[in-house]
Structures are given as structure tokens and as C-alpha cells.
């Protein structure tokens, strides 16, 4: 049963006051904190939203205790053997993103979903991938949750631009989405160096065998930082392919690097390729 608003405020007020330096180093009563959190959570969705209502934009008021209480709640529901309170908590948080709450508050809710959320919130996170301010934390929460994340990222890719596009390209690599290989290959030819670098790394991390020639070409034709990163992607792809039993393609990558990186400044790459080849021998 949920608390009355004043009772809920009373429970939140059981969170510690910052000490004179603004820290949680003194007057920390572990039992008191945990007892209050249990009571708040017992009140279900209404109490959770009540605490969320206490959150404000940074600098626009004092929400120190509510801010801490919400995180304590996220930690608490993860400790329980029963998964239902965790799902209820994360669904409630997910229902509060994408609306009119201040963006910094929504970012905070998303970060708590990164702590405690599961597959039940991936669609809600997917919906805010198109929001320039929420895309970054949402993509990170999706990557942390893992299950169901790839589909959300894949669907968002064609409709986002700028930093969101970079974020999604990278995270498609993080979640190793094989269904995004086509889109990532297109991004290898992008005009923006950051997109190209993100795409070659994503393809390498996915371990896509059909990308080997494209990655080698990208590395051969790049300069500076991009060349370093594209070359790393080639070595990473070779390792992924070798682990997946695709030895001949791995050997082809290593031999190419061994034979093309012969100038003194890049001899270490040739040596790395030789080491990779030696493992296969």
C-alpha cells in the first residue's frame, strides 16, 4: 500500500544528510536507510513515482535524498530472489521517460534502468534513441541490458543523425548485431571519419567474415588516427575469425598486414601480424 505524500517524504527524509563537506561519510545509518527503502518499495508504483516526482534538474532545487533513495531502490530490487519487484520497479521508471520531465531527470531514470532494468524496458529505451539528449544514456542502458537491445538499436539507425548515429553505430558493434552488417558496411564509406572508424570497429567486433577485404582496404587507405584504428580493427577481426574457426580468412588478414606494414614506423603492426600467424602454425 502506498504512503500518503507526507509519509513518503518522511521515508525519503530518512536518507542521510550530506556532511559538512557535502559527502556521505558520517552519520550513515545502514539499517535506517535500508528499512526506509523497503517501506517505500512496499508502496509499489505510486511510491516509486512519488520519489521520481521529487527529482529536479541539477541546480534547480534540493533532491539529494530522493536522488539517493531512487538508486537505493534500484540496488534493493536487484538483491531480491523474486524478480517481480525488480520488473515492477523498472517498468515504472520506463513509463516516466520520453515525456515532459526535465531531460536531466530522464537521464537519471535511464541510468537507474542501466542498473536494474531488463528486457521488459528495452522498447521504452528504444523509443528515446531518437532523442538527441537521451540517446547516449539510452544506448548505454540497452548495451548493459543486452537482451533485446540489438533490435532497438538497429531500428533507430536509419532515422538518427549526428552524435546519435555515432552512438548507435558503435553500440551495434558492442551488442554484435549480425543483422546490421549491411548498414555498417555502408557507414564504412561515410564522409565523416568518426562514423567510418565506428563502423569498421563494429564490423570487426561482430566478427563478420565478409568484411575482411573492406576493412583491409579501409586501413590501407587511411592516415593518422583513422589508420591506427582501422588497422586495429583488422587485427581484431582476424582474432575473432580465428576463434570462430575461420582460420584461412584470419591468415589472409595477417599476411596482408605482415606484407604491407613494412616501414619502420609501422613495423610493429607487421610484427603483430607475424605473432598472429605464429599462433595459427
Amino acid at each position: 500500500m502506498s504512503e500518503s505524500p507526507s509519509a513518503l517524504v518522511g521515508l525519503v527524509n530518512r536518507m542521510p544528510d550530506p556532511d559538512r563537506r557535502g559527502m556521505y561519510c558520517t552519520d550513515i545509518d545502514k539499517e535506517k536507510i535500508e528499512g526506509a527503502i523497503r517501506k517505500i518499495l512496499r508502496g509499489g508504483r505510486e511510491n516509486i513515482i512519488g520519489v521520481i516526482d521529487m527529482l529536479v534538474e541539477p541546480g534547480k532545487g534540493d533532491d539529494v535524498k530522493a536522488h539517493y533513495a531512487l538508486h537505493c531502490m534500484a540496488l534493493h530490487v536487484c538483491k531480491l530472489k523474486n524478480d517481480r519487484p525488480r520488473r515492477r520497479f523498472s517498468r515504472t521508471l520506463a513509463s516516466q521517460i520520453g515525456g515532459d520531465r526535465p531531460k536531466e531527470v530522464q537521464k537519471y531514470l535511464i541510468r537507474q534502468l542501466q542498473v536494474a532494468g531488463g528486457k521488459e524496458v528495452v522498447e521504452a529505451l528504444g523509443r528515446v534513441l531518437v532523442d538527441k539528449e537521451l540517446c547516449e544514456p539510452a544506448a548505454q542502458a540497452l548495451a548493459a541490458i543486452g537482451e533485446g537491445a540489438a533490435e532497438q538499436l538497429r531500428e533507430a539507425l536509419p532515422i538518427v543523425s549526428g552524435k546519435c548515429r555515432l552512438t548507435i553505430l558503435q553500440n551495434l558493434g558492442v551488442v554484435r548485431d549480425t543483422k546490421s552488417v549491411g548498414a555498417l558496411k555502408k557507414a564504412v564509406g561515410d564522409e565523416d571519419e568518426a562514423f567510418r572508424i565506428a563502423a569498421v570497429w563494429a564490423l570487426a567486433n561482430i566478427g563478420d567474415v565478409s568484411s575482411a577485404t573492406m576493412l583491409l582496404r579501409a586501413a590501407d587507405h587511411a592516415d593518422g588516427w583513422e589508420r591506427i584504428q582501422a588497422t586495429k580493427a583488422c587485427l581484431l577481426l582476424a582474432e575473432k575469425l580465428r576463434s570462430a574457426g575461420k582460420k584461412s580468412e584470419a591468415v589472409r588478414i595477417y599476411k596482408h598486414l605482415r606484407e604491407t606494414r613494412t616501414k619502420p614506423a609501422e613495423r610493429y603492426v607487421s610484427d603483430a601480424a607475424k605473432t598472429g600467424l605464429a599462433i595459427d602454425d
Binding site: 542521510p16 550530506p18 563537506r21 557535502g22 559527502m23 556521505y24 561519510c25 558520517t26 552519520d27 550513515i28 545509518d29 545502514k30 536507510i33 535500508e34 527503502i37 541539477p58 541546480g59 539529494v64 536522488h67 539517493y68 538508486h71 537505493c72 540496488l75 534493493h76 536487484c78 538483491k79 536531466e104 537521464k107 541510468r111 537507474q112 542501466q114 542498473v115 536494474a116 547516449e136 544506448a139 548505454q140 542502458a141 548493459a144 555515432l166 552512438t167 553505430l169 558503435q170 553500440n171 558492442v174 568518426a194 572508424i197 565506428a198 588516427w225 591506427i228 584504428q229 586495429k232 587485427l235 619502420p264 614506423a265 609501422e266 610493429y268 603492426v269 610484427d271 603483430a272 605473432t275
Partner: protein, 412 residues
């Protein structure tokens, strides 16, 4: 990009064969000889992160390193991209730089170390090595993939490796003959909990025009600026480090890890006493107990837990490991074991290409001790760790702190 006119080790190696027959007048230091270091032992260096630990870390590179570049996100007003930089990527592109000292906040340590090795540089990285466990494995992978030298900026293990008592313990533990180890190492205090906690009530402030705040945050969430998040006090925020435990822990536990021969494994059970952690600011904790598979236990007792709300750690007492823990037959085997090879310092390592004593894989295992302690504190529960898979067992949410997503374009 303007290149230095000095002859670096790489340039010397590159040109020495082709021009050996050509007559030219060269400076004395290029030829070497008494009082002059030959170029084959002179290195071009860069310092990335020029805060309080910057010069000290750079000096750790040794005397034969010329500082060709300095880089810091606070150099926005006077960066010239020739000697002074704000973006480490521009530094790493330079072919005349052989070694890099990294003294940024630890949220950058792994990424810059990896990038430097990908660019063919050797690395001396200030402690603590990493911000989370997966970063350390990625650094160790890069060290191996590119055959680069990596040394962590703490040196206590070098002294331990010359001490007869520590050598004996090392041999006993390394032998694997001690099946049920009763050893308990307790570190009481010295982990600067109060000193390196974060503020929970920071109010956003304008970003100084001298600072690239986005680059400072790097892989961590882009937060509103506050001066307490910058400079030495960054240690109190999970975004950049892990409080005094992470900051001082590598100094304390790296030597102990060597003594107990745990450079290639990690604790399997971790339990802590702490209140629920704040999401952004590091704060108070009581103690942490970390047990290895063979029974060896490390303990961190903060000794800073408020006295009226105890406890300090009382569950176990300190106990060493000695020959008498073994059968007579096994004692004989230990006495016959050769002493471990002396650890190689960074300067010798970059010349001989032998692995440095504080190499990435060992430093990563030490950082893992600290991260596991902090994960147990942050999750508020006992955790089990698989040191081979480097994952927390059966705890999906805790594993999210083992490998944390990064803000693009930064990734492992």
C-alpha cells in the same frame, strides 16, 4: 604536423643502414660515446595528463626520454598541436614519439594506454590502472597483441621481489603445494575513504573556457561541470575512479599480490560491509573481505567507519604463510625451487623488449581486486567471481559494473 628535428631511436634505426656510408657531420649525442647517450637508447616521449601526478609519472620513464609533447584537456587556450595538445589522438599520430606517460584521471587510463600501444608506443601508466575490470583485460590484450611494454605507476613489487621473506612466500604460493591456505593479509587504513569521497550535492557551474569538458569526461557520462569533479578530487566519483580504495589500493595490493603469487588470478568470493552506495559519489564503507580459490584472504579495513556505528573488521586475524604450513617433503621441494627472475624495470624493458615487472596482465589483476571490492560495496552484497572468465557468477546486475558501456566514440 611539425616533427621534432632530433634523431629518435626509430629514425636512427630507419636511417642508419641506408646512410652508413655517407659522409656527414653529426652531433656528438647522435654518435654516443662517453657522456652522450646514443640514439638507439634515446626515446621520444609524451606526457598525457599534466595534473598533479604528471611530471612525476613522466620522470618514471627514465633519463633518456626527451619530452616532445604534452597534452591535457585544460590546455584549450594555448594548445599549438606542435608541442602542446588537448587531444591525445594527435599526440599518438606522431611517429617520433616512442613512449607515453599517462597521468590523466583513471577513467582515461585504459583507453589511452590501448590507443598508445595500437600506435606502437610503450606505456607508463599512473595507478590505478583502470576504472572497471574489462578495461584491464583489454589493456593486457593490447600489450600482447602489439608486443608493447606497459608498466603501471607503482613500484612496491620491485622491492618485494628482492626481499628473501617475500621470495620464500612467493615460492610457496607459486608452487601450488599449499592446498588449503590459511593466509590472511589485512590492510588497515591508508585507503583514504573520507579524503577521496565525492560530493552528493554538487550544483552545476559554468565550464571554464580553458577546459575541454567533453574530452575530460571522455567515455564517462557527460555530466554538468563542477570543479570538485576536476583535478585531484575526481577520485571521489565513480565516473572517473573509485574513491580512495581504488586510488591507494593499487599501491597497497600490487606488492602483496606479487608476494602471494596471484598475478594470474583473482579472488573468488568478495564480501563487504557498507551502506547502499551513492550512484555518482564514492562514500563511506567499513570493510571488504576477498578470498582466493586456495583460501588466501585479503582484507581491507577502512578504519574510518564512524565509531558509533561500528564495525571495524574483526572476523579474521592476520596470518602469514610459512614453510611450516607444508609437509617436510614439500618443504624440501620449496628449498630446491629456483628464485623467481628479477623484475625488469621500465627503462630496461623498453631497451631489451622484455616484459616490465608491473606489466599489464599483473596490474590488471591487482586493479581487479579493487574493482571487485568496489562492486561488492556498490551492489551491497556478497559476490562470487570467476577469475578465468572474468565474470561475476550468477549476478547479471553486478556484471554490468565489470564491463561498463562507454560514450561514443570511446570503446574498448
Amino acid at each position: 604536423m611539425q616533427k621534432s628535428k632530433r634523431v629518435t631511436r626509430r629514425q636512427f634505426l630507419k636511417s642508419s643502414v641506408g646512410t652508413a656510408a655517407a659522409f656527414t657531420i653529426v652531433p656528438r649525442r647522435v654518435l654516443g660515446g662517453p657522456g652522450n647517450t646514443p640514439p638507439s637508447e634515446t626515446f621520444g616521449g609524451a606526457l598525457i595528463g599534466c595534473g598533479g601526478r604528471g611530471n612525476g609519472t613522466f620522470n618514471g620513464l627514465g633519463p633518456n626520454v626527451e619530452k616532445l609533447a604534452i597534452c591535457d584537456v585544460k590546455f584549450v587556450k594555448h594548445a599549438d598541436n606542435k608541442k602542446v595538445y588537448t587531444d591525445f589522438r594527435r599526440v599518438l599520430e606522431r611517429k617520433d614519439i616512442d613512449v607515453v606517460a599517462i597521468a590523466t584521471h583513471p577513467g582515461w587510463h585504459a583507453l589511452i594506454s590501448i590507443a598508445a600501444m595500437e600506435a606502437g608506443k610503450d606505456v607508463l601508466c599512473e595507478k590505478p590502472m583502470t576504472r572497471f575490470i574489462a578495461e584491464g583485460r583489454a589493456v593486457a590484450d593490447a600489450e600482447k597483441r602489439y608486443n608493447r611494454i606497459f608498466q603501471i605507476g607503482t613500484y612496491g613489487r620491485f622491492g618485494r621481489s628482492r626481499n628473501q621473506g617475500d621470495i620464500l612466500t612467493h615460492k610457496i604460493m607459486k608452487s601450488g603445494l599449499l592446498k588449503d591456505c590459511k593466509g590472511v593479509h589485512i590492510k588497515r587504513g591508508g585507503l583514504k575513504v573520507r579524503e577521496w569521497s565525492g560530493m552528493v550535492n554538487v550544483k552545476p557551474q559554468p565550464i571554464p573556457d580553458t577546459l575541454d569538458w567533453d574530452m575530460y569526461c571522455g567515455p564517462a557520462p557527460l555530466r554538468p561541470y563542477h570543479p570538485h569533479r576536476f583535478g585531484g578530487t575526481h577520485r571521489g566519483y565513480w565516473d572517473y575512479e573509485g574513491g580512495g580504495l581504488a586510488d591507494m589500493g593499487q599501491h597497497h595490493f600490487d606488492p602483496v599480490q606479487w608476494t602471494f603469487a596471484k598475478d594470474d588470478t583473482s579472488p573468488v568470493e568478495i564480501e563487504s560491509f557498507a551502506p547502499p552506495a551513492h550512484p555518482e559519489a564514492c562514500g563511506m564503507w567499513g570493510w571488504v573481505e576477498l578470498k582466493y580459490a586456495d583460501g588466501l584472504t585479503f582484507v581491507m579495513d577502512s578504519t574510518e567507519w564512524p565509531e558509533n556505528q561500528k564495525p571495524s573488521y574483526t572476523r579474521k586475524e592476520s596470518r602469514g604463510v610459512s614453510l611450516s604450513d607444508l609437509s617436510e617433503e614439500d618443504q624440501k621441494k620449496i628449498k630446491e625451487m629456483p628464485d623467481p627472475e628479477p623484475l625488469v624495470g621500465f627503462g630496461d624493458a623498453i631497451r631489451t623488449r622484455k616484459q616490465a615487472g608491473g606489466h599489464a596482465a599483473a596490474a590488471h589483476r591487482c586493479a581487479t581486486i579493487l574493482h571487485l571490492a568496489n562492486i561488492s560495496i556498490r551492489m551491497g552484497r556478497k559476490i562470487q567471481y570467476d577469475p578465468v572468465k572474468e565474470e561475476i557468477v550468477g549476478d547479471e546486475e553486478a556484471n554490468r559494473l565489470v564491463n561498463q558501456p562507454m560514450r561514443a566514440p570511446w570503446h574498448l
